[in-house]
């Protein structure tokens, strides 16, 4: 078995996706689904089988040359090191469970072939991001996931609203992609290569201000994909897509691609302390912003969307403190529990007859205990219940910020801790409104296909207990992930005393408890909502959409009409037309010369000849 087998990890989903693109419409449903699940499942198995190749500095493999021009040389090359291998395992594993869930979810949709084809193509593109050792190849995956996200958000395209949500996601993230693109062009100019290993190795030779600018560009690119401020407006709308899509793309994998990018290029990113501080600031502010929005949402999936944005904010915060392993830890735990929550939400929506509004739910705990327990597992992780995976991973990031000790990072810590409180509140709000009290919806409960529940059981267990991946020493763990990723070159760490660690864990526990108490006091008994101005402000994401509309979209559309009808038609064509009319009227006037008398024609001919001869004479004299 050669190292080139590694390429099968991304290529198997691509192949299966291509099969469904080409023949899916003609295949029976079972076969089409089997192909899709088979693609990702075999990638998962392959990742496990090939895991030894990731040891140490990992394995680097090249397939063929993509672009070759002058000094530019872009091979299709991948790097299977601890960082990419662990991410690959998470992506393929979670994808497999979500694909299984999707079979149940889509059991009545006639368009299954398109759905599974796109889902598989997405996994291919995502794995390309993860494994690429070349920035341009990474960019291929980066844009590829963007397209799949676009097509899957707008999967139910017959409704204009869904298609528009997909388009919005594509365009907003592409704004970020432009900055990533500029960084890519610049890195090529600086290094003469786009190899990620090469860039990381040579980064220390760059001047500080260039490094900072590069980090800012990369950060903006990451913000687009990961829905961080200011490029975050697309994520809530993206919930228009089918729920497995939200679970896979907008919770577990694609939205964390920005975090992964920064981790991948961490040797470069870490060289700019200003850049790191900015990353932390963006993360902390986004985490806070999204948590406030999540408090006011009424659609179950939008609560989860804002909470994803908020949790990804924590990961950015963590990268900015230098805790690469910590961020990846939170990335993994979040992928597990948020995918679980989304799929649980899919079950809930299905149970309530496609009802999205949590104000119209309630009482589900008694009606569907299995879904309740599964959802509760995810919710406890999200809220940071002690000893759940989310508790360890989030706490680790906050501790890393605290450990810096500077006023800036202490502010970040306080903002992050306050957001943790908000997180607990909105999570329990969601739980109480959906499961607590008495049922507020009319109609019978719908049944759930088995495939919509049982993939959640392993996921719930993983979500709850994945804390052991990186259990801190004070809890008797060995920080396995830290050691694994540290070998691959992780950031500096500021060790805290055990006393401090216990204190921080205590604070986190207290915040969790307070959050629960607040939610219990406010939401354990449902009171019809009052549409206060403040609530509406948060409901609409601080009116960000309205702002974008007024400052960007309206002027853009106006200018586009102005350039067309003003400049192109009126000015340019207008000038040319008046030129044409001038010729015509001149012609009209010249027509008076055509008198019809031969003598006048002859006279003008003679004059003309004379002029020509004079001209040539002058030429000869001069020559």
């Amino acid at each position: 078995m050669t190292d080139k087998t590694l390429f099968l990890i991304p290529l198997l989903p691509l192949l299966c996706g291509a099969l469904n693109v080409l023949f899916g419409m003609r295949l029976p449903r079972q076969l089409s689904q089997a192909i899709a699940v088979g693609g990702v499942a075999s990638s998962t198995v392959l990742t496990l089988v090939l895991w030894p190749l990731s040891a140490g500095a990992g394995t680097h493999v090249t397939l063929f040359t993509w672009l070759d021009s002058g000094t530019l040389h872009v091979p299709v090359e991948i790097l299977f090191d601890p960082l990419s291998a662990s991410m690959t395992l998470m992506v393929t594993g979670v994808s497999t469970l979500i694909h299984l869930y999707a079979i149940g979810y889509m059991h009545r949709d006639a368009d299954y072939a398109r759905f599974f084809a796109l889902l598989n193509l997405f996994v291919f593109a995502m794995l390309t991001i993860v494994l690429a050792d070349n920035l341009l190849l990474l960019f291929l995956g980066w844009e590829g996931v963007g397209f799949c996200s676009y097509a899957l958000i707008g999967f139910w395209y017959r409704e204009e609203k869904n298609a528009s949500a997909g388009r919005k996601a594509f365009l907003v993230t592409r704004v970020g992609d432009v900055f990533l693109g500029i960084a890519l062009l610049w890195l090529f100019k600086l290094f003469g290569t786009l190899s990620i290993s090469g860039i990381n190795a040579g980064a220390s030779q760059l001047a500080p201000h260039i490094l900072t600018l590069l980090v800012v560009l990369l950060l903006l690119g990451a913000c687009g994909k990961s829905a961080q401020l200011p490029l975050m407006t697309w994520l809530p709308d993206a919930m228009a897509g089918p729920t497995p899509v939200s679970a896979l793309i907008h919770a577990a994998t694609m939205v964390t691609a920005g975090v992964y990018l920064l981790c991948r290029l961490f040797p470069l990113v870490s060289l700019s302390s200003t850049g790191l501080a900015l990353i932390s600031a963006v993360g902390a502010v986004t985490a806070f912003y999204a948590a406030t929005c999540a408090l006011a949402q009424r659609e179950i999936k939008k609560v989860l969307a804002y909470s994803t944005m908020s949790q990804v904010g924590y990961m950015f915060l963590g990268v900015g403190t230098g805790a690469v392993a910590g961020s990846m830890f939170h990335l993994f735990t979040h992928a597990f529990f948020k995918a679980l929550l989304f799929m649980g939400a899919g079950c809930i929506i299905h149970l309530c007859g496609e009802e999205n509004d949590i104000f119209k739910m309630g009482g589900l705990r008694k009606k569907s205990p299995l879904v309740f327990w599964l959802f509760l597992a995810g919710a406890l992780c999200l809220a940071g219940a002690p000893l759940s995976s989310g508790f360890f991973s989030k706490d680790g990031l906050l501790a890393a910020a605290y450990a810096h000790g500077t006023p800036f990072y202490l502010t970040i810590y306080i903002l992050g801790a306050f957001t943790a409180l908000l997180t607990a509140i909105y999570t329990f709000r969601l739980l109480y409104l959906v499961f607590g009290g008495t049922s507020r919806f009319t109609g019978d409960l719908h049944g759930l296909p088995k495939l919509m529940t049982w993939p959640l059981i392993p996921l719930a267990l993983i979500a709850l207990f994945s804390g052991v991946l990186n259990l801190p020493e004070i809890f008797g763990g060995h920080q396995w992930l830290d050691h694994l990723l540290h070998a691959a070159g992780s950031g500096e760490s500021h060790p805290l005393s055990h006393m401090q660690e216990w204190t921080l864990a205590g604070i986190a526990t207290a915040l969790f408890a307070i959050g629960w108490a607040v939610a219990h006091w406010r939401y354990s008994r449902f009171t019809p909502a009052q549409e206060k101005k403040a609530v509406l402000f948060f409901l609409h994401g601080w009116q960000a959409d309205r702002l974008v509309h007024a400052t960007l979209i309206t002027p853009f559309a106006f200018l586009s009409r102005l350039f067309w009808q003003g400049a192109d038609l009126a000015v340019i064509d207008g000038i040319l037309e008046s030129l044409g009319q001038g010729c015509q009227s001149a012609g009209e006037r010249l027509r008076t010369l055509t008198t019809g008398r031969v003598s006048s024609y002859l006279a003008s001919l003679a004059w003309g000849l004379l002029l020509f001869m004079l001209f040539f004479l002058l030429q000869v004299v001069q020559g």
Binding site: L67, S69, G144, F147, R158, R167, I182
Partner: protein, 500 residues
């Protein structure tokens, strides 16, 4: 020894289509003869170029060369030459002409005249890409123009006459300036050396006084700029592309626009290196203006065809930016992008034609929900649209990224700005996709999905989109040496047997 080398293969490429065109006219009484003649002729020409491409793409220098005295009194010669650049361009031409023939299979009225005009255009374009004598080049340059004028004027849509006349006047105004300039150059060279010749190889050695050089370059430049087209002399394009019959739009966008860029590379820069290099920043400004201005206008369009037409101006802006950057990677990117744009835009225009045949409208507001009615056609439309907006892995991306990477090494600001144009491209293309494919279906009469003939057109185009997107080296290798020579300023590789 190559068995074909004894044949005047370049002449064949030019005159075979003309013979085919005449054949269409002579065999008028035979029903449907003309379309088969057209298909046969374009097929043979394509086979020839493909053969040359396979056998010759790795060679250096002039792959083929023909030189005969023609009008010796004025030093006009019949000189044809093919290097890697011409090879690539003729291959693109020959390929897209087959597409044009297939897409017009059921053209009416006067199919025989239609096909003979198509073949005449092919004759003209081949001549443009192969001529190395300025008068010969000018002749072919005008030959392209006239059949296209009739194609638009007779077989076009509602405002065809307006569009045809506008197209004719714009191009003619430009080319007349070029004619004056090339005659002046001829006289100047003759006065200096006593050798009155129109041969490019001779004229590039002319010592031109700087002031005059600016004027002469300007005249050539205007002729080429109209064809490309550059803002602000682009306004003929939306009308011509929109009103032309589908085959006309495919040829206009796919090939004719590239003759402008080709002219700059083959004639403009080598003949007037001084002003050409000095004006590179102006070229960059015009390119950037095209990228943004045209993309902006494209967004406002209601007619799908006109939207794609404006997108052409924006895409050609990238090509021109690569020229303006004037380094190896950027130039290779520009040349690749010419091919890419020919493929994707040719495909998109073909597809709008197919949609128009079914929906009897091209207005975006009246289309919609095509994915429900014709999913296979919809999938192809999405695919080519994605290629057009520069999705990596598909063809336009490779060209654009080469241009941008090349440009950034010397002019970071230009490249960074141009990259912003990618967002604009996504904005107008996704508007088109959404208007055509998504949303509720309008109307309920059943449509037939892709026909066999349509699939025959689209599948090869789709394969090329992937090929150019994943392994562009196949098409970049032949142009490597010409580009290097161009950058060194020495236009002409030595030719066994010597240059005239």
């Amino acid at each position: 020894m190559n068995p074909l080398s004894s044949l005047p293969i370049l002449s064949l490429l030019i005159w075979l289509p003309l013979a085919g065109g005449l054949g269409c006219l002579f065999l008028r009484p035979v029903r449907h003869a003309s379309r088969w003649i057209a298909l046969g002729t374009t097929g043979v020409v394509f086979a020839l170029t493909l053969f040359l491409f396979i056998t010759g793409s790795s060679k250096n220098g002039w792959l083929f060369f023909e030189d005969h005295a023609w009008i010796s009194r004025f030093g006009i010669r019949y000189t044809l030459g093919m290097d890697g650049l011409s090879l690539l361009m003729t291959l693109l031409t020959a390929f897209l002409l087959i597409v044009a023939v297939l897409i017009s299979w059921q053209v009416s009225p006067y199919p025989d005249f239609f096909f003979s005009l198509l073949l005449l255009i092919e004759c003209g374009i081949m001549g443009v890409f192969l001529s190395l004598d300025l008068v010969l080049f000018y002749l072919f340059w005008e030959i392209m123009l006239i059949p296209m004028f009739f194609l638009i004027g007779v077989w076009g849509h509602a405002r065809r006459l307006y569009a045809a006349v506008k197209f004719f006047l714009f191009t003619l105004a430009g080319s007349l300036l070029m004619l004056l300039a090339l005659i002046s150059l001829y006289l100047l060279h003759g006065q200096q050396t006593g050798d009155y010749s129109f041969a490019l190889s001779a004229l590039i050695h002319t010592q031109i006084p700087p002031n005059l050089a600016w004027w002469l370059y300007g005249s050539f430049f205007v002729a080429f700029a109209v064809k490309v087209p550059l803002v602000p002399v682009h306004t003929w394009l939306p009308d011509a592309h929109t009103e032309a019959p589908t085959a006309g739009s495919v040829i206009l966008a796919g090939i004719l626009l590239k003759t402008g860029v080709y002219g700059l590379i083959r004639f403009g820069f080598p003949l007037f290196p001084g002003p050409a290099h000095a004006s590179l920043p102006i070229l960059a400004v015009l390119a950037l203006a095209g990228i943004f201005y045209a993309a902006w206008i494209a967004y406002a369009q209601n007619d799908a065809k006109r939207l794609i037409a404006y997108s052409s101006v924006a895409h050609l802006g990238f090509v021109i930016l690569g020229l303006a950057a004037w380094n190896l990677t950027a130039l290779e990117g520009s040349i690749l992008q010419m091919v890419n744009h020919g493929i994707t835009t040719g495909a998109l225009f073909s597809m709008v034609g197919m949609i128009d045949q079914r929906a009897h409208t091209r207005e975006i507001a009246r289309l919609g929900g095509l994915w429900t009615r014709v999913p296979v056609l919809g999938a192809f439309f999405l695919f080519f649209s994605l290629a057009s907006l520069g999705l990596p892995g598909l063809n336009n991306f490779t060209g654009e990224i080469l241009i941008l990477l090349g440009t950034f090494t010397t002019h970071p600001v230009w490249a960074a700005l141009a990259l912003g144009g990618v967002v604009f491209a996504a904005i107008y293309m996704l508007r088109l996709v959404q208007g055509v494919l998504w949303g509720p279906t309008k109307g309920d009469e059943p449509w037939t999905d892709l026909s066999g003939r349509e699939a025959l057109v689209l599948i090869p185009l789709a394969i090329l989109v992937l090929w150019l997107g994943l392994h562009p080296s196949t098409f970049l290798e032949p142009v490597r040496e010409p580009v290097q020579l161009l950058l060194q300023g020495s236009m002409f590789p030595s030719m066994p047997g010597g240059m005239p």
